[in-house]
Amino acid sequence: MPWSPFSRICSRIFAGLFFILLAVPALAEQRAGNIYGLPPCLTTAGERVDLIFWIIFSLTATVFVLVQGTYIVYLIKYRYRPGVKAHYSHGNNTLEVIWTTLPTLIFLALAIYSNRIWDEIHRPPPENALTIDVSSYQFGWQMRYPGVSGKLSPCDVKKISAQNPFGTDPSDPRTAQDVISPELVIPVGRPVHVLLHSRDVIHAFYVPEFRLYQDCVPGRTIGWVWFQATRTGDFQLACNQLCGTGHFNMKAPIHIVTEGDFQKWLSTRQQKNAAPLPSSISKQ
């Protein structure tokens, strides 16, 4: 096989470069601070997601090291040497059975455990949950909160139009009480149940700190998403489904505040409701 001394030297140089260049991302990560791990986790469901994430991470990291390590050992140990003939073997059925059964069991166990957590995350929201209507459009978000009655006025996706962006019933007395906001303000420690809507194309409700993604599908209400924040802070809601030219900037502020601050904000917001948009709240 052709294999000149020059290409041997080239290979060594490039092999060296390979490891130097792999160090570059590692250095970049250290410079920028806390980007090695995951972003902070803010919801109870998110903690469950992180648990299974780390289980899979440890499993795959082990397999990665074992498989790649074995390859490197093989590449060195079984390299061509003059006079040494390769071992003649067409395979081994016992081995085939073992390395079919073992991964099957591991993968099935992962699937079963994953789906238990999946079901747990998607159990029905608790009774005391705050329900918020989250409405997406090209290219922004609008939230609708229950007014003084404590209940959101009912909506119907078939009624959504330019004049009635939430598809509510104007004759319902609760409709006038609804609080409209361009920002998602939620109380810490209380379950929040969001009803996801879209007025035009598919958007996605994505908050990395909540470990939560869900598409908002036009013509439907996605009603199974709820979460419970574990601490206060300011974050961003992002659209994570390509929805047109303005997609890259389709975001909304999220404020997680204490229950008291939340009630205060809601009543202030209610008074301003005559002029629904755009107005921004003061940081709580």
Binding site: W3, F14, A15, A111, L212, Y213, P218
Partner: protein
């Protein structure tokens, strides 16, 4: 069985098409020789050179996107002004809508106009008849038609850049109703051309698939039983069956988009009673088998190349064939794992996650068998072997990162982030493209009659490996930091500004990866004309194509070969040379191990 094989191959040898075309194509090598030719080897070259053009175009689009992500809003040097005004501003910086167009066209071109034609069009055409001992494809004229459908569909796709509104900006997945309502996407003409192009491209794939299946079933040389076929042939055979079932679904779904866009129907528009998620089901019913359509041939090439350069039989040949068939079968029941969080029924998501975990098993089996092939081998370090080993290594990374998304709760976190961009580029670039490079270097002597330049080959290999990992590995971290895919400016998000240095690293890697194609292209084009003449069997390989001298005449085999044993008899004990070609009988004192 053997009687019927002899009968069909006899037919193949004397069939009027083969002989008629032989006389027809002989002697004149004008432009027409390269434009309309029914020789499978020439068609393979047509596919190759056309796809290289699309590879360069799709690659430049990716470079432009990477520049924008690292330095948002800055004019793109060198290539910025090559783009039409729907994509860049006057100073040559990408605009958001233009970024979406590049996202769409990069994905579409690389999947449909580079990966598929190279893996299936180039190697399917070149290898199947040569490896099974046939004179040509079963339907040579339909074969050329398939090339022209592919070629013209590419022009239709590129034409979308120049119609009013520009190219579609809806992603290669074209989710409805964004893609199906002109008022939402602003590019109804471009989107229509996209659909028409994929429809034509699909017809080309289908005609090709019918041809491959027929050829493999009816035109094998005497003694070439199914279980004596080399693994690349098996891989393309299974792939062709997948194409037959998957492509029509995409074609139909794309036709519905054309109706919605232009004729006022409402298949995907909820206000008219349509269902947006219907598109996703149809698209991914095609789209997931599509992944296996790409990866199966890649696996086939690598299995063979690993065996040749380890001088060992493929470990578990039959296990490899069964694994490929099971992947093909299960590939049709996992499409829902793209849709866990699409609004699909939650229990359905759970079911799809089980089938998705199960389909990882045959891939694991194949990885272990590749390890077994190298175990106690005599490994020769050559350029094709290096790419084949890199394939396995990158495929392992891409496969392992896939387990994260397969788990439903983790998908809640990483869905549509750069984690998945990293994952599928490890599979499609790290695995499939590396395997293509391995195959190109491996069969280059047979295709061109010349040897490639080894030094340039090694430079190409190391640059690809280094810069590929530099580009795509940090994307795992970007995804876990919450970076969404398909956004043209990550710095608009507070949480993403702090990871911006990683985006710069990825872009530096992408530039290097772009440069790495230069030694490759120089090597290929220089060696075709000026490379040293290659011997008939430079790698001491066992399969039938290496028994032929260059140039291989139209009709391939002067005498139909007879096959006596399986494809990978390397290092047989008691034999002086370390390989036993398929058309050579083993000496009577040697018994070959059953595989």
């Amino acid at each position: 069985m053997s009687a019927s094989i002899a009968h069909t191959s006899h037919l193949a040898d004397t069939s009027p098409e083969v002989h008629g075309d032989h006389g027809h194509g002989h002697g004149k090598k004008g432009l027409m020789h390269y434009l309309w030719n029914t020789d499978h080897k020439v068609i393979a070259m047509q596919f190759l050179f056309t796809s290289i053009i699309y590879l360069v175009l799709g690659g430049l689009m990716a470079e432009a996107m990477r520049w924008q992500l690292a330095w948002p809003g800055h004019p793109i040097p060198f290539i910025g002004h090559l783009f039409p005004s729907t994509i860049v501003s006057d100073d040559g910086a990408l605009i958001p809508g233009g970024y979406n167009m590049l996202v769409t066209m990069h994905g579409t071109l690389l999947v449909f106009f580079v990966a598929m034609p190279v893996l299936i069009g180039v190697f399917g055409n070149f290898l199947i008849p040569l490896k099974i001992g046939a004179g040509d494809m079963a339907f040579p004229a339909i074969n050329e038609l398939s090339y022209w459908l592919f070629s013209v569909s590419g022009l239709v796709m590129l034409a979308s850049f120049f119609v009013p509104g520009g190219a579609p900006g809806t992603g290669w997945t074209a989710y409805a109703p964004l893609s199906s309502v002109g008022a939402y996407n602003g590019t109804p003409m471009g989107q229509t051309l996209w659909c028409i192009s994929l429809f034509m491209n699909g017809l080309g794939s289908l005609t090709g698939a019918v041809n491959y299946i027929t050829t493999v079933i009816t035109m094998r040389a005497p003694g070439m039983t199914m279980f004596r076929m080399p693994l690349p042939v098996w891989a393309i055979f299974v792939t062709a069956i997948l194409l037959i079932f998957a492509i029509p679904v995409l074609s139909a779904a794309a036709a519905l988009i054309v109706f919605d866009l232009n004729f006022g129907t409402s298949f995907y528009r909820p206000s008219g009673g349509g269902q947006p998620i219907l598109w996703q089901h149809l698209f991914w019913f095609f789209g997931h088998p599509e992944v296996y359509i790409l990866v199966l041939p890649a696996m086939g090439f690598v299995s063979e190349i690993l065996a040749v350069f380890s001088r060992k039989p493929v470990f578990g040949y039959k296990a490899m064939v069964y694994a490929m068939s099971i992947i093909g079968l299960l590939g049709f029941v996992v499409w829902g794992h793209h849709m866990y969080v699409s609004g699909m029924n939650l229990t359905l998501s759970a079911l799809f996650s089980v089938s998705t975990m199960v389909i990882a098993v045959p891939s694991a089996i194949k990885t272990f068998n590749w390890m077994g092939t190298m175990w106690r081998g005599s490994i020769h370090y050559t350029v094709p072997m290096a790419f084949a080993v890199a394939f396995v290594s990158m495929f392992v990374i891409g496969g392992l990162s896939g387990i994260f998304m397969a788990s439903t709760p983790v998908d809640l976190f990483v869905h549509h982030t750069y984690f998945i961009v990293a994952h599928f580029h490890y599979v499609i670039f790290g695995a499939i493209v590396f395997s293509t490079f391995a195959a190109l270097y491996f069969w280059f002597p047979k295709m061109s009659g010349r040897m490639f330049n080894n030094t340039l080959g090694w430079i190409h290999f190391w640059m690809s490996l280094v810069f590929f990992n530099l580009t795509f590995f940090p994307m795992h971290n970007l995804g876990l930091a919450g970076m969404m895919r398909r956004i043209s400016d990550p710095t608009v998000y507070d949480c993403l500004r702090q990871v911006q240095p990683l985006n710069v690293v990825c872009t530096i890697g992408a530039m290097g990866l772009g440069l790495s194609t230069i030694p490759f292209l120089i090597n290929m084009f220089w060696s075709i004309w000026k490379g040293p003449k290659a011997p008939a069997n430079p790698w001491s390989s066992t399969t039938l194509e290496w028994t032929l001298d260059y140039p291989i005449q139209h009709g391939n085999f002067p005498v139909t070969p007879t096959v006596y044993h399986g494809p990978y008899e390397y290092s047989v004990p008691g034999l002086e040379k370390d390989f036993l070609p398929q058309n050579e009988k083993a000496p009577s004192h040697i018994t070959l191990e059953a595989h």
